[in-house]
Symmetry: C2
Subunit: 153 residues, 2 copies
């Protein structure tokens, strides 16, 4: 599953993760190539799973999503059953934008995007009623300083 990427591939990826709506012609010009080779490279990288979904990023604030929480979770349960239930709960809840299992003291971190603090509380109550967690700390974002989906290629 490892594909060797050259400089041109990398330039194409840089363009696509910046603006995937631009035309092949524009990308080809910017990376110093032409349509067909660029198209073939993109196709290969899609097949290899390097390029995933193409999505529109929406503005959270103008849609009324004013609250963003980072949730630090400690649990005493580490059995397979518990973990499966916890994972399912996270995947099923659309307000959970990110979830990571961590090394060390804290077991999980979530990024939760909701309309307001009340909606967070509803989420939190629903979560702890579904799965037992030992300790939960919520960090409230006051200001999103930076947000990018781009990898530092």
């Amino acid at each position: 599953m490892t594909v060797r990427l050259d400089e041109t591939d990398r330039k194409i990826l840089l363009q696509l993760q910046q603006d995937a709506a631009q035309s092949l012609d524009d990308i080809a010009r910017k990376v110093g190539s032409s349509k067909t080779p660029v198209w073939n490279r993109i196709r290969k990288m899609k097949e290899a799973g390097i390029i995933g979904a193409q999505v529109a990023l929406l503005d959270a604030e103008s849609l009324g999503f004013d609250a963003c929480f980072f949730v630090l979770i400690r649990t005493s349960e580490h059995e397979a059953d518990w973990q499966a239930a916890f994972l399912k709960a996270l995947k099923d809840r659309p307000e959970v934008q990110e979830a990571h299992r961590l090394a060390g003291d804290i077991d999980y971190i979530l990024k939760v995007r909701v309309r307001n603090a009340r909606a967070y509380d509803a989420f939190y109550q629903a979560l702890i009623s579904e799965v037992k967690v030992h300790n939960v700390t919520a960090l409230l974002s006051m200001e999103q300083i930076k947000s990018t989906t781009a990898l530092p290629l």
Copy 2:
């Protein structure tokens, strides 16, 4: 800058944040309308800033970005000068994918995507040499359980 959205607008946004590469025809069919009205609604929502960039999401692992850290930062400095320098440092570093200013005890949280632990250390050393921070805790992700850019519309 507040635009009233109806059910159709919401359905269009759901489609676009899931797959922005599909054709207008497909979106129109899925939301129960036809091309031109859908196109006009998308144009208006772009003008209103509700719909932002359209990007390709790349697979971090297949590109060799195996390490993801959440960094909790406490600082004793809260002056405008310090804050401006800190913000600039974060915006300039491509490995910082997210940065939030927090309410409470911890002042900032960062999401940092790097190739490996050594690259994180390099980032960390560069950051603390640029700006003074009081206390830094790094949480290492072992496993990304969920990741979406979609808002829970």
